[in-house]
Assembly symmetry: C2
Homo-oligomer: 684 residues x 2
Amino acid sequence: MALQVRLGSRMSSLVSMASVSKSLIFFLLSTLSILPTYTHPLDPLTPTEFTKIQSIVHNSYPKSNHSIAFHYVGLEEPTKTAILSWLEGTATRTPPRQAFIIARINQITHEIIADLSVRNIVSDRVYGGYGYPLLTFEEQGTANALPFKYTPFLESIRKRGLKVEEVVCTSFAIGWYGEKRRSKRVVRVLCNYLDGTVNLYMRPIEGITVTVDLEEMKILGFKDRSTVPMPKADGTDYRESSQKPPFGSPLKGISMHQSDGPSFTIDGHAIRWANWDFHLSFDARAGPVISLASIFDLQKQKFRKVLYQGFLSEVFVPYMDLNEEWYYRVFFDAGEYGYGLCAVPLEPLRDCPENAVFMDAYVADHNGTPVNMPNIFCIFERYAGDVMWRHTEAAIPGKVIREVRPEVTLVVRMVSTVGNYDYVNDWEFKQSGSIKVTVGLTGLLEVRGSMYTHKDQIKEEAYGTLLAENTLGANHDHFFTYHLDLDVDGDANSFVRSQLLMTPVTDHRSPRRSYWRVVSETAKTESDARIKLGVAQEDLLVINPNKRTNIGNFIGYRLIPGSVAAPLLSDDDYAQIRGAFTKYNLWITPYNKSEKWAGGLYVDQSRGDDTLARWSLRNREIENKDIVLWYTLGFHHVPYQEDFPVMTTLSSGFELRPANFFESNPVLKVRPPQPDNWSNCSRA
Amino acid sequence: MALQVRLGSRMSSLVSMASVSKSLIFFLLSTLSILPTYTHPLDPLTPTEFTKIQSIVHNSYPKSNHSIAFHYVGLEEPTKTAILSWLEGTATRTPPRQAFIIARINQITHEIIADLSVRNIVSDRVYGGYGYPLLTFEEQGTANALPFKYTPFLESIRKRGLKVEEVVCTSFAIGWYGEKRRSKRVVRVLCNYLDGTVNLYMRPIEGITVTVDLEEMKILGFKDRSTVPMPKADGTDYRESSQKPPFGSPLKGISMHQSDGPSFTIDGHAIRWANWDFHLSFDARAGPVISLASIFDLQKQKFRKVLYQGFLSEVFVPYMDLNEEWYYRVFFDAGEYGYGLCAVPLEPLRDCPENAVFMDAYVADHNGTPVNMPNIFCIFERYAGDVMWRHTEAAIPGKVIREVRPEVTLVVRMVSTVGNYDYVNDWEFKQSGSIKVTVGLTGLLEVRGSMYTHKDQIKEEAYGTLLAENTLGANHDHFFTYHLDLDVDGDANSFVRSQLLMTPVTDHRSPRRSYWRVVSETAKTESDARIKLGVAQEDLLVINPNKRTNIGNFIGYRLIPGSVAAPLLSDDDYAQIRGAFTKYNLWITPYNKSEKWAGGLYVDQSRGDDTLARWSLRNREIENKDIVLWYTLGFHHVPYQEDFPVMTTLSSGFELRPANFFESNPVLKVRPPQPDNWSNCSRA
């Protein structure tokens, strides 16, 4: 039975379906063992568990006299020590199965830990600091509907000659701009227009701001400041069905084909492929979580640890438009909206190739009721026609030797659509021992409606590019900050910067005047390892200072960075205070279970007092310890007309590559895959 | 009839096969129209034409009383004006068909232009400056054989306990280190060892230097300076047939499948695919040459120019090892060895996927006789499972919209193996209008034999990493300098740097304290456009200042750089003087037909007096002119044990992406390819 509780628009179906009937359905199914159950302590919460958690919380806070909203429900992971003991088989007891819940109960933020074995709340802390939890879909949906019952808004719509039934509104977090007084939990609701297109983002209704109190669920403020012409609908619709000739000639069919099926095995959430073994989980805030990635060393005949856990910790997207309805467009896509909550079902054959396997995910809705998200992950072997290694030897008289191995990798993909932007997230595993993480940015731009119809009319700062008549594409940035808890062959690691330094040759016997050499420094405390990339020429390594190869090199993994961007906001700018974790592209911290979210636990209206940048100020020791890499991939985006009305995917990624981890190249012993041979084929 | 004149080892077969019989064969075949003929003025020289050129030169310089060696034979392209008129159909006459030959005749360097229509030399200039032409395979092969008849060398081999029949020698250009006197045309011959492996590069015979005079073809100098232990053979062989268990489990078959064949058409050397149209040629020095790349604009219903010509101009590979046998290992793979001459046949299903089509190339040997190089190019449509663009819209109440388009691109690939290194060169065309150029570095490292068997023994600078016992992987760089003659919708272009500048907000009405804005500057002269990447945050554009989109943006193309590396040699270091074109990652020059080779026309023993850096000193105007981009992709390579005994491919690339070239996103109208549907398939 397909549990399609997330049909159609998330907003409407979630608000409308009764929680009770869903809980009942899940209960029945779990007893029938149709629903997933957990087998690994890092498995994501199952529907049954979400339901248990819901009732555990309701037991303590009955709905009859409490207003409760579940803003975050996720796995409260066992300690790293417990996990590692469990893995090694030395644990004296099974790690506890617990959930971490952030709930607003009677308008107070509670941090609750619920234990699923004893079916009880084991910790319940009220949070009184700055900032609020993730916005839920339901409250955004309800807030977005409010303007339609608000006379001044309807008047403003009518005044602009627009049809109210073609208006669509979305919620925006308000951030913080130095106000001393704590603000209520509010959003700004801004609206767009359809009427001949589905591309509402290309048709913003400028000048109207509606501020909604999410607790009272009523309009707190309304402003209609100005009017600009509405960009036209023509040319903005991106649906295949809406396109008119002429068309490009369609390409012939092409597929990634595996006649004998894939080489990977999936056992619950444990994935094994080639020499890799790892666990794939899902979190409402982070999206994909890769844990316990280890690689089989043929020479040592055992699995060796590489990455204890890797996930996207925050996505910081500040816009550079200072207009009144734009200055606060500074998004934290994980902490404000939930990168996992915003994950979207993948389309077979288009989002993922023919040979892909799909995996569902589950989240809790605002009532704590489990919701199935189908086809959230796809897993596939990728053959892009690339060469893993090759050599042609022509120097040996009388013979030509040629050895070539094609590159086949494993990709785990999840797409998160946060409003207008679609982010394609790939975790790619290579037989060489590399892990490559790529983000592809696509979807739709945020544009500002404008009076301009030609660039020559623009005499002042427009904060972006004119993309079409009345359409300004706003300048903005994307920063993706990853939490990378590498455990290189064990958890006691160090961080080494190997700088390449130009060195003059003073020995007059040599005809050379200079060369470069490597000068390596091990970071002792956190301040040694805050790095802005692109300045020095260096290799960045996480090594295990207690383990060396047979010939004495410290074993390690190297970070090969991708797109480098440094923030271009001043350090004292409020957005940059909240996003201070982007000041450096790389930070190292000692492992600390509570340090997960680079922007802080509470990001909505945060004041930057709980960011990675703050933790780092403690300047803790990071040498020969369990350390964590925080790496930020950044993009500055100046829009171009090619970004209108949709954006072609712009990708970048980083790589974690073995560096003296192996005695020699592990791919030497990798046999090429069998070719895919076919005969007697006819087209369907 | 397969004209396999390049069987087995290049050296032996070329030296041994008689020129006369080959010329006769080619003549017969051309009359039978079996051999390729040219149809496009930029087509590479055909075998018939090579033969004609050979006889044209011999007419003027009879072999009976002249020693002649052909060091370079390539197309002398018609002027750009002639090509463009021919393209537009306005040419009053067919562009001339000419060849440019660099020949050493009686030990003097001649630059000859031969006209193939009138069958005559039309220009013959003696070159008396510094530097020598490309080394030929034949002379290297002959030089490499000399030590085996030289008693001191044989004694040195015996002294080391090595078997002379297992020794393989290769030739190294000597460069220039400030000597005032011009040196003879020599190479240093250095030798390696087999004896239990084919991986000669992992078994260098250190300490012996043989200097060979290429003109006299005799040993000029010999030195046996020192002995170090020979690294062992065990563990170095990379042949599949030589590997011993244990092995990784083989992956299941996977293929890139196109049941209806490819979508591209190849007409001689003209390739058309999707919205792209371009010409692919081959040059002995540059390898692939992409010309006349233009893209069909659906909206304007016509082809528009993008890239007049792009090719790899030089590959600079300086090593950082100062030992006596190593300090001069500073390679210019195009100018000294011929990146095209070093191209190797591609292996089907491994170098290129199942759906690839192959294309041969032809070069002239040292006698001017044409040689067939089979399967030098492969051309294939690539589907890597990537997403070209997508969007899921969930904000519209009552509906969820999802549109996804998979990314299919066209790849033209050529591999060049220059001694130990294999370079995989991809020119990739995207329907979005982007051209992406990637280099993959693989093959074998150059290692220095050493007494060290453990890192702890190393007390002084070793110039690299200990990779195995007695095996030091030397630090080195690779710089790939591309000549990119973009003609964005016409040849009068300008270069614009759009810098992203942090800007304080002085308007106290705004809650923001800063933002970034774009400040664009058009380069007026060459000195405005010498750029070290990674310093400023900027968009780099080639625009057409005479053409704007409908809404007024200047049309352009943007360079998105790949791996950034700056040289770490001092400017006055001889290697860096010769490689001064790498000082900046980006240069702009006004188009000048003679400015092709960034390191100068004569690179062997060059003194840096004819490099891109020198031309640029003229500080010519580059605004609203026909300009050329020179872009350098760089890699610093600190070896790791994973690079032993073979290197896994390390790739990087750059992209030329449309920037306000189109009115809107051209991929909006791209229909997804038909899926590849199969039924009734059985394995072969």
